[in-house]
Amino acid sequence: MSSWVVESVQAEIGASVPWPDDVALYQPYEVEQILLPDSANCLSVKTFLHMCGLNFNLELRVNAEEMSPSGKVPFIKVGAFLISELDPIIAFVNTKGFHISKHLSDTQQSEMRAYMALVENVLVNAELYLSWCHEDVYYEITKPRYSSCYPWPINLILPLKKFAEIKSRLSSIGWYNKSFEDVCEEINTCCQALSERLGNQAYFFGDKPTELDALVFGHLFTLITTDLPVTKFAEVIQKYENLVDFCDKIEDTYFKKKNLKA
C-alpha cells in the first residue's frame, strides 16, 4: 500500500499511538551504493527526525529502493506503517504530536513551504542532472555505484532503465536540454535566495530549527562534501558564507553530538 493512501488512515490511528522505540529508517549503503540525490534526501530526513528529538535505527539495505512504498528512499517503518519521502514523513510525525514549526505565524508557514518547494525544484533536479546527465559523473560514479549490487546481465540494463526514467523527468520540466552552466546558474540563484533569507540568523526562521532547515542542510551539505569529479556545484555554494556556516553549525549540533554520545 502506498504511503499517500495510508495518510488518511494514519490521521485516525496514528495520533493515539506514541513514537515506538523500534522505528527503522531504511536506506541504501552509504559507502558503496548510495547516489547523490538519494544521499541528500536521506540526510534531510535524518536531520528532521533528529530535530524532532525522535529515535530511529538506521537500516542499510541493498534493495531499499525496491522496498520503499513509493519507489524512493529513504522510508521509515513505524509500527505497521511504511512512509517514504520527506513530505509524508513530516505529515506523519505531525500527527504524532511533534511539530517543530508550530511557533511560526501563518505567513511564515507559507514562506517556509515556498522555500522548501524552491529547494525541491532546483537542488533536487540539479543533483539528478549532475548524477545522470553529466558524462564524467555518470560513467565514473553513478553507473558503477548503481549497478554495484546486481549480477552481470542486469547490471547493464538497470542503469539504462533508471537513466530513461530520470531523462523523461528532467525533460518534462525542460532541464534535460540545459547546459551545465545553466544548471550552475540555477543553483546560484537558489543559493542567493536562500542566503538572503537566512541573513545572519541561526536558522531560517529565528533561533529554532524548522523542516526547511533540515531540507536545506541535507542538500547543501551533501553537495559540498560529496567527493565528485566535478566540483563546480560545491564552488558555487561555497561563495555564500552564511550557508556554509549554517551547514557546519547543524552538523555540529545534530550529528557530532550524537556520535560522541554513541
Partner: protein, 340 residues
C-alpha cells in the same frame, strides 16, 4: 528600446485575454511593468523556437520560454520587481517555485488530463484556435506533454490515481498557503504588483473563469475570498477591454438566441428555394434520360401526319366534287331515257 515588441499568445475567452496560464502570466507581467507590447493572438506555436507559446519578438531577438521572456524584459529595465527589497526578491523566487511545484501539476491535470474537461473544452478550444493541419495534432501533443510533466516525477510503484489524489491535495494546500500569504494586502509583496502576482493571476484566473465541467479547484478557490478578489481586481484594472468584449459577446449570443424566431422567414425562403432547385434538377434529369426525345418524336410525328391530312382532304373534296358533278350529270342522261 527600438522597434516594436510583439507578444504571441493563445486565444482568449470568458473575459480573459488568453486562456493559457503561462501566456496570461507573461501578458500580465507586461501590463504591470508598462511594456508597450503588441499582442498577437495566434494558434500556431510552431513559429516559436521552443515550440510553445508565449513568444516575445523584439527586433531580431526572439524569446521562446516564459523564463527567458521575463529575464529579457528585466535586462532591458522593463520590470515591476525593481522596487522589491532583496529578501522580497528571494521570496518571489521561492513562491514561484511553490506554484510550479504544487499548483501547476493540478492545473495541467484539470485542463489536459481530466477526460471530460479535455473533450468538452480544452481540445475543441485549442483545435479551433490553431490552423488546419495543426488542429488535429496539437491538442494531443500538448496533452502528452502535460501527462509527462505530471507523472514522470513518480516512481513505478505509484499508480496514476494516487498521483491524482496527491496533486489535488497539494494544490489545495498551495491555495491555502497563498491565501494566508496574501492576507488583506492588495498584492503579495506590498502595494505594488510583482512578477509573482502576475504568475498567481495567470494560474488562477482561468480556473476561476472557465466553465469547466469538472472543477474541484474552482470550488476551493471560491472558498478563499481574498484570492478571488485579487484576481477580479487585476482583471478589472489591467484588462478592462476584455471584460467589455466578453459582455458584448454575451449580449450578442443572447440576441441571437432571441432572434431565432425572426430567422424563420429566411428559413421558409430557403426551403422554397431548395424545393425549386430540387424540382428543376429532377426535371432536368428526366429530360436527360430521354423525355426530350419522346416529346420531340411526338412533335415530328404530328408534323409528319398533318401534311398527309392536308393533302388528302383536298383530294377527297375533289372526289366528292367529281361525284357531285357526276351525280349532277347523271340525271341529265337518265331523264330523257325515263321520259321515253
Amino acid at each position: 528600446m527600438e522597434g516594436d515588441i510583439e507578444l504571441d499568445i493563445w486565444h482568449g475567452d470568458w473575459g480573459l485575454p488568453t486562456v493559457e496560464p503561462k501566456c496570461l502570466a507573461v501578458l500580465t507581467y507586461c501590463k504591470f511593468s508598462g511594456v508597450p507590447v503588441i499582442v498577437r493572438k495566434t494558434g500556431n506555436p510552431l513559429k516559436s523556437p521552443s515550440g510553445e507559446l508565449p513568444v516575445l519578438r523584439h527586433g531580431n531577438e526572439i524569446q521562446g520560454t516564459t523564463e527567458d521572456i521575463l529575464n529579457y524584459l528585466r535586462e532591458h529595465q522593463w520590470g515591476c520587481d525593481n522596487k522589491l527589497s532583496n529578501i522580497q526578491c528571494a521570496d518571489t523566487i521561492a513562491f514561484c517555485s511553490l506554484l510550479e511545484e504544487k499548483l501547476l501539476p493540478a492545473i495541467l491535470h484539470l485542463w489536459w488530463i481530466d477526460g471530460k474537461n479535455y473533450i468538452d473544452l480544452t481540445r475543441p478550444g485549442f483545435a479551433k484556435a490553431s490552423p488546419f493541419p495543426l488542429n488535429f495534432i496539437l491538442p494531443g501533443n500538448m496533452r502528452r506533454k502535460a501527462r509527462l510533466r505530471i507523472y514522470s516525477k513518480n516512481g513505478e510503484n505509484v499508480t496514476d490515481g494516487e498521483v491524482d489524489l496527491r496533486i489535488y491535495k497539494d494544490a489545495k494546500q498551495c491555495l491555502n498557503l497563498l491565501s494566508k500569504k496574501l492576507g488583506n494586502a492588495p498584492f503579495f509583496f506590498g502595494d505594488r504588483p510583482s512578477s509573482f502576482d502576475a504568475f498567481v493571476f495567470g494560474y488562477l484566473a482561468p480556473i476561476m473563469k472557465a466553465p469547466l465541467s469538472n472543477n474541484q479547484l474552482q470550488s476551493h478557490l471560491l472558498a478563499c475570498p481574498n484570492l478571488t478578489h485579487f484576481c477580479k481586481r487585476i482583471l478589472k484594472d489591467y484588462f478592462p477591454n476584455d471584460i467589455y468584449e466578453n459582455e458584448k459577446k454575451k449580449e450578442n449570443t443572447k440576441k441571437q438566441m432571441s432572434g431565432l424566431a425572426e430567422d424563420n422567414p429566411n428559413k421558409t425562403k430557403n426551403m422554397i428555394l431548395a424545393g425549386i432547385f430540387a424540382i428543376t434538377a429532377m426535371v432536368g434529369y428526366a429530360f436527360a434520360i430521354g423525355l426530350i426525345q419522346i416529346e420531340l418524336s411526338d412533335k415530328e410525328s404530328e408534323e409528319e401526319e398533318n401534311p398527309e391530312l392536308h393533302k388528302s382532304q383536298p383530294e377527297t373534296d375533289k372526289h366528292h366534287e367529281n361525284q357531285q358533278t357526276y351525280e349532277q350529270f347523271e340525271p341529265l342522261f337518265e331523264e330523257p331515257g325515263g321520259e321515253e
